[in-house]
C-alpha cells in the first residue's frame, strides 16, 4: 500500500508543441489522442481545477519563491525585489545564534520523546478495541476518543490547565490532602512530557482509525487456521495482527520521521509565556518570534528555510530506509 498515488490509467507522455505527440514517444502514446482533441474534450475538467490551482499558486508557491527573503535584509516597504541582498549573511547569523541551536535541540528531543511515548499508544488502543466483541461498546469508545482531535489547541490547553495547573483540580486535591502543590503547567522540567501528554490526549484516539481499518482488512481465515494449529490469543496477535498492520505502521513511521521537525506550533506558542522560551522554543516559534515579532524577517525566513530543507531530506531518508526493509513507505518510484 502506498499513501499517495497519481497513477490513474496509463502513464502520461509529453506532447509536442504543435499538439501532436512527440515523435520519440509515439510508440508509447499509440492510444493517445492529439493534444487539441484532448483539450477540447477535457477543458471543463481543467476549468474545475483552476480555482484550487490559483489558490495554491498564490499561497503555497509564491511563499516558496518568497524564501528569497532568507537571503535579503528584508524591508517591507521595498518588498522582495528591492530589499538589500545579503547572500548567506542571515544563515551565518542564524548558525551563530545559540538560541537557534537551543530551539533545534528542543525540537529534536521533543520529536524523539513523542516518537517513543506517542507512537505506540494508538496501536495498543486499536488492538485493545479490536478485541472487544460488543460493537456497541466499540462504537461508543470510538466516538469518545475521536472527539479531542476536533478540539482546538487553545481549548486543549485550557482543559489541561484546569486539570493540572496551579489552580486546577489535581493541585486542589493535593493541597486538601496535605501534600505540596505541583504546578505542572509552568514547570520547565516537566514541559516535554506535558506537551507529549497533551498530544496523546488530543490525537492518539484519532490515530487508531487507520490501525482499526488495517486490522479489519486481515483475512479472518488466518486466525482460524492459527487457532487450529494451537496458537493462543497472544501468538495470534503477534503473528497475524501485527504483521497485518505492518504496512500502515511503517507508512506512519516514515511520515513521523519526515515530520520530525514539526512537533507542533500553536501548542508551544500558547504555553510559551507560562514556561518560558527556554523549555518551549522550537524551530517554528523561533522563526515566528525572530521574524515577525522581532521584525527580523530575513533571520526568521532563514530558520524556516532551514527547517523546510532538513524536513525534506528526513522524509527522503526515512522513505529510503523503508524501501531497504522491503516496505513501500510513502512512495515507490515508478512502476
Amino acid at each position: 500500500m502506498s499513501a499517495i498515488s497519481v497513477r490513474s490509467g496509463t502513464a502520461t507522455t509529453e506532447t509536442g508543441p504543435g499538439g501532436a505527440p512527440a515523435p520519440a514517444k509515439r510508440k508509447k502514446a499509440r492510444t493517445r489522442l492529439p493534444f487539441r482533441v484532448r483539450l477540447r474534450r477535457d477543458w471543463p475538467l481543467l476549468l474545475m481545477a483552476v480555482p484550487a490551482v490559483l489558490l495554491v499558486i498564490a499561497f503555497n508557491y509564491l511563499p516558496m519563491f518568497g524564501t528569497v527573503t532568507a537571503f535579503e535584509y528584508y524591508d517591507y516597504i521595498l518588498g522582495f525585489w528591492q530589499s538589500t541582498w545579503v547572500g548567506l549573511q542571515n544563515f551565518s547569523d542564524l548558525f551563530a545564534d545559540p538560541n537557534f541551536w537551543h530551539a533545534f535541540e528542543n525540537t529534536i528531543v521533543l520529536s524523539v520523546i513523542q516518537l517513543v511515548l506517542f507512537f505506540p499508544v494508538p496501536i495498543a488502543l486499536a488492538l485493545l478495541l479490536n478485541s472487544v466483541l460488543s460493537s456497541k461498546i466499540r462504537s461508543f469508545v470510538q466516538a469518545i476518543v475521536y472527539l479531542p482531535h476536533f478540539f482546538s489547541w487553545v481549548l486543549v490547553i485550557v482543559l489541561f490547565q484546569q486539570m493540572l495547573g496551579g489552580a486546577g483540580l489535581l493541585n486542589h486535591l493535593l493541597l486538601t490532602h496535605g501534600m505540596n502543590a505541583w504546578n505542572i503547567m509552568t514547570d520547565p522540567g516537566a514541559f516535554k512530557y506535558l506537551v507529549t501528554a497533551q498530544s496523546v490526549w488530543k490525537e492518539a484516539g484519532w490515530g487508531i482509525i487507520v490501525f482499526l481499518a488495517a486490522i479489519a482488512a486481515i483475512d479472518p481465515a488466518l486466525y482460524e487456521a492459527a487457532a487450529a494449529d494451537g496458537a493462543n490469543r497472544w501468538r495470534r496477535t503477534w503473528h497475524i495482527t501485527l504483521p497485518g498492520m505492518r504496512g500502515v505502521i511503517v507508512l506512519l513511521l516514515v511520515l513521523r520521521l519526515g515530520n520530525a521537525l514539526n512537533v507542533g506550533f500553536e501548542q508551544f506558542l500558547i504555553q510559551r509565556n507560562a514556561v518560558g522560551s527556554g523549555a518551549s522554543e522550537v524551530l517554528d516559534t523561533y522563526s515566528y518570534y525572530y521574524g515577525v515579532a522581532a521584525n527580523n524577517f530575513g533571520l526568521g525566513a532563514a530558520a524556516g528555510l532551514f527547517k523546510g530543507v532538513v524536513s525534506l531530506l528526513l522524509l527522503y531518508g526515512a522513505n529510503k530506509v523503508a524501501h531497504f526493509f522491503g516496505e513501500d513507505g510513502l512512495y515507490r518510484g515508478t512502476r
Binding site: G300, G304, L312
Partner: protein, 313 residues
C-alpha cells in the same frame, strides 16, 4: 452502514465469538473493561468539569474551591453575561461567519478540483496533482507566507487573510478525489452518453453518491477554520474588534488578559454575579459547542469517508 463506525461485516447483529476462539478469562475481561473505562473518563471528565463550572453559581465555585465536579445548583448567568452583546458575542459571531464562509469556499474549490482531477487519462491531471502533492512536503515557512499575504496582497487586517491562505488542503483534495474515483464509473459513462456536461455529472451523479466523504471533509475544513488562532495573531493582532473567539480565549490563557464583559456588575444584584472562573469556562464551552453539535452527525461517516479515500489511494 446503520451502526456508527462498526468494522464488522454485519453491524446489525451482535457479533459472536468464533467457535475456535478461547473463552475470555475473567481477569482479562476485567482488565480490558477497566482500561477502556479509564480511557473514556480521561476524555470525558475534563469536558464535564468545564461545562459544569460554566453553569455553576458563585457559591458552588466557592465550595469546590475552583473547578466544579459536583453540581450545587445550576445557572445560566455566565452565558447571559457573555452573550449580552459584548466582546465575546462579537468574537463568536466573527468566528461563526469565518467558519461558514471559509468552509463553503474550501468545499466548492476542493470538490471541483477533486472531480476535475479524478477522470482517468484526462489532460494534464497528473501535473496538477503533482503540484498539489508537493505542497504537502515543502512549504516556504511562516515568514514568506506572512510577507506574501500581508505585503504582496495587502491582507493585513483583512478577514480574507483568515480564509484564503488555508482554503485548499492538498490532503483533503486527494481523499475526495480517491473517493470520486471509486464511485461507479458506469454511471458517469452513461450520463456522458446521455450528453450530460462534466458539471452536470458532478452535480447529479458524483455528489449525491459521495455524501460521506463530503460531510467528513466539510467537518475537517470547518474545524480548521473554527480552531485557528495563529492567523489572527499574525494578521490582525492590533485590532481587537476583529478577533475571533479562539484568539480571545488565547489572550486569557496565555497573556492572562482580564475577562471582558465583567463590566455589567449592576445587572446582577450582589451574589448572583457569576464567578470569574465560570465566565472563563463559559468562553471555553462556547468554543466547544459548535463541535459538539455537529460531531454526532458526521462521526458515523468517518470510517467510510476517510478510509475509502486514504487507504485505497
Amino acid at each position: 452502514m446503520s451502526t456508527a463506525l462498526s468494522f464488522k461485516a454485519k453491524p446489525h447483529k451482535a457479533p459472536k465469538r468464533p467457535v475456535w476462539e478461547e473463552k475470555p478469562t475473567v481477569v482479562g475481561q476485567a482488565a480490558k473493561g477497566a482500561t477502556l473505562t479509564v480511557v473514556v473518563l480521561l476524555v470525558v471528565i475534563p469536558v464535564y468539569a468545564v461545562v459544569l463550572t460554566s453553569l455553576s453559581p458563585q457559591s458552588s465555585v466557592n465550595i469546590a474551591g475552583g473547578i466544579v465536579l459536583v453540581p450545587h445548583g445550576l445557572t445560566l448567568n455566565a452565558y447571559r453575561e457573555m452573550l449580552d452583546g459584548g466582546v465575546i458575542t462579537r468574537a463568536m459571531l466573527i468566528s461563526l461567519a469565518i467558519t461558514v464562509v471559509g468552509t463553503a469556499v474550501s468545499m466548492v474549490v476542493s470538490v471541483l478540483c477533486a472531480y476535475g482531477l479524478s477522470r482517468p487519462r484526462s489532460l494534464g491531471h497528473r501535473w496538477i496533482l503533482m503540484a498539489l502533492i508537493a505542497t504537502m512536503f515543502f512549504s516556504g515557512g511562516i515568514i514568506p507566507s506572512f510577507i506574501v499575504v500581508a505585503d504582496l496582497f495587502n491582507g493585513y487586517d483583512q478577514y480574507w487573510a483568515l480564509i484564503l491562505p488555508g482554503a485548499v488542503s492538498a490532503f483533503n483534495i486527494l481523499i475526495i478525489r480517491s473517493f470520486y474515483m471509486s464511485t461507479a464509473s458506469e454511471l458517469i459513462e452513461a450520463a456522458k452518453l446521455d450528453g450530460a456536461s462534466e458539471f452536470r455529472i458532478l452535480w447529479s451523479v458524483v455528489l449525491p453518491t459521495s455524501k460521506a466523504v463530503n460531510a467528513v471533509m466539510a467537518l475537517f475544513y470547518a474545524v480548521g477554520y473554527w480552531s485557528a488562532f495563529f492567523n489572527v495573531m499574525l494578521y490582525m493582532p492590533a485590532d481587537s474588534s476583529k478577533w475571533t473567539l479562539q484568539y480571545v480565549l488565547y489572550t486569557y490563557v496565555s497573556q492572562g488578559a482580564t475577562m471582558p464583559g465583567q463590566n455589567s456588575a449592576t445587572a446582577f444584584a450582589g451574589k448572583d454575579q457569576p464567578a470569574p472562573l465560570s465566565l472563563q469556562m463559559c468562553v471555553v464551552v462556547l468554543t466547544l459547542i459548535p463541535i459538539l453539535v455537529i460531531y454526532p452527525f458526521v462521526q458515523k461517516h468517518f470510517t467510510k469517508g476517510m478510509l475509502t479515500g486514504a487507504i485505497k489511494g
